[in-house]
């Protein structure tokens, strides 16, 4: 008669390997241009980057508020501008509600430029073009430049002596630059079209692109933050590579 004995050996508890989250765009095969475009978008701008739930703690500073402040002012500009364009110059000159909406439009523009300039100063002094963010910087510059042209056409649409004076001061410079035919500051109807169609469209598109680029690259850190700062993107991997743990 034989007996069998079983021996049990104590094994250490097995910890499951840490699997990094797999991007859906990496595991799916794309073979059409629409699919490839979707793959590219998912890789560059996954939903968790497009609409993040959290931001690094350094974003909790007033200097990081002014970009969104400028966008909020832009929304008020567009809404009040739509109301003005539906009613026309006589309305905003002669009715009290027209005066109010006209003033709302003017003061939201003032706030837009104030917030945009403080945002520019903040980003300039933290060298915000770092870390592959040069296109974000450039789109910000373009948004600022196009907004100035949009503001200029707004002054031309006051339809008062000031706008007439501004138009006739500006026309010679624009004619000398060779664009007077397409941007004729003495032609109220043409400038109205520039102000309510093409320029707002340009500002909107550039600002939208600017925001998408901020989402893609993440909010820039203060200049004195180091790359091993645990608040920064990819910091755990960098810390692990440097043997610092987390």
């Amino acid at each position: 008669m034989t007996t069998t004995t079983t021996t049990t050996t104590s094994t250490p508890p097995v910890t499951p390997p840490v699997v990094p989250p797999v991007n859906k765009a990496d595991e799916e095969e794309f073979y059409t241009w629409t699919g490839k475009a979707r793959g590219w978008l998912l890789k560059k701008l996954p939903p968790e980057k497009l609409l993040p739930q959290d931001q690094p703690s350094y974003v909790a500073s007033w200097i990081y508020v002014f970009g969104m402040g400028a966008i909020a002012a832009l929304v008020v500009i567009i809404v009040s501008g739509i109301v003005l364009s539906f009613n026309g110059p006589l309305w905003w000159h002669q009715s009290s509600l027209g005066h109010f909406v006209n003033s709302t439009h003017l003061w939201s523009v003032e706030l837009f430029f104030v917030f945009m300039v403080v945002h520019l100063w903040g980003k300039y002094w933290m060298t915000a073009w770092r870390g592959g963010r040069i296109l974000t910087w450039i789109t910000g510059v373009v948004a600022f430049a196009v907004s100035i042209v949009a503001g200029f056409t707004g002054y031309l649409l006051q339809t008062n002596f000031a706008s007439q004076w501004i138009a006739f001061e500006g026309k010679d410079a624009l004619n000398a630059a060779g664009i007077g035919a397409w941007f004729n500051v003495a032609n109220l109807g043409q400038i109205f079209m520039w102000h309510i169609v093409l320029l707002p469209l340009a500002v909107g598109v550039v600002v939208a692109l600017h925001v998408v680029l901020v989402r893609m690259h993440g909010v820039v850190s203060p200049a004195d933050a180091t790359m091993t700062d645990s608040q920064l993107r990819d910091a755990p991997a960098l810390d692990a590579a440097a043997g610092k743990g987390n």
Partner: protein
């Protein structure tokens, strides 16, 4: 006449400040000062506490 008065309202020369050869309209000067004050305050004022994560 009423309409003309309204049209003329935007043609007031405004107040100008001058230091030697440097001249600036009061409104523009105020906007620049406001931007500088906002910038400094944004750097020194503590930020409000946000929501705590559950």
């Amino acid at each position: 006449m009423h309409g003309l008065a309204l049209l003329a309202a935007g043609s007031e020369p405004g107040i100008y400040l001058g230091w030697g050869p440097f001249v600036i309209q009061l409104g523009n000067f105020v906007v620049i000062v406001v931007m500088l004050v906002l910038f400094v305050l944004a750097l020194v004022l503590p930020f409000t506490k946000g929501k705590t994560r559950k």
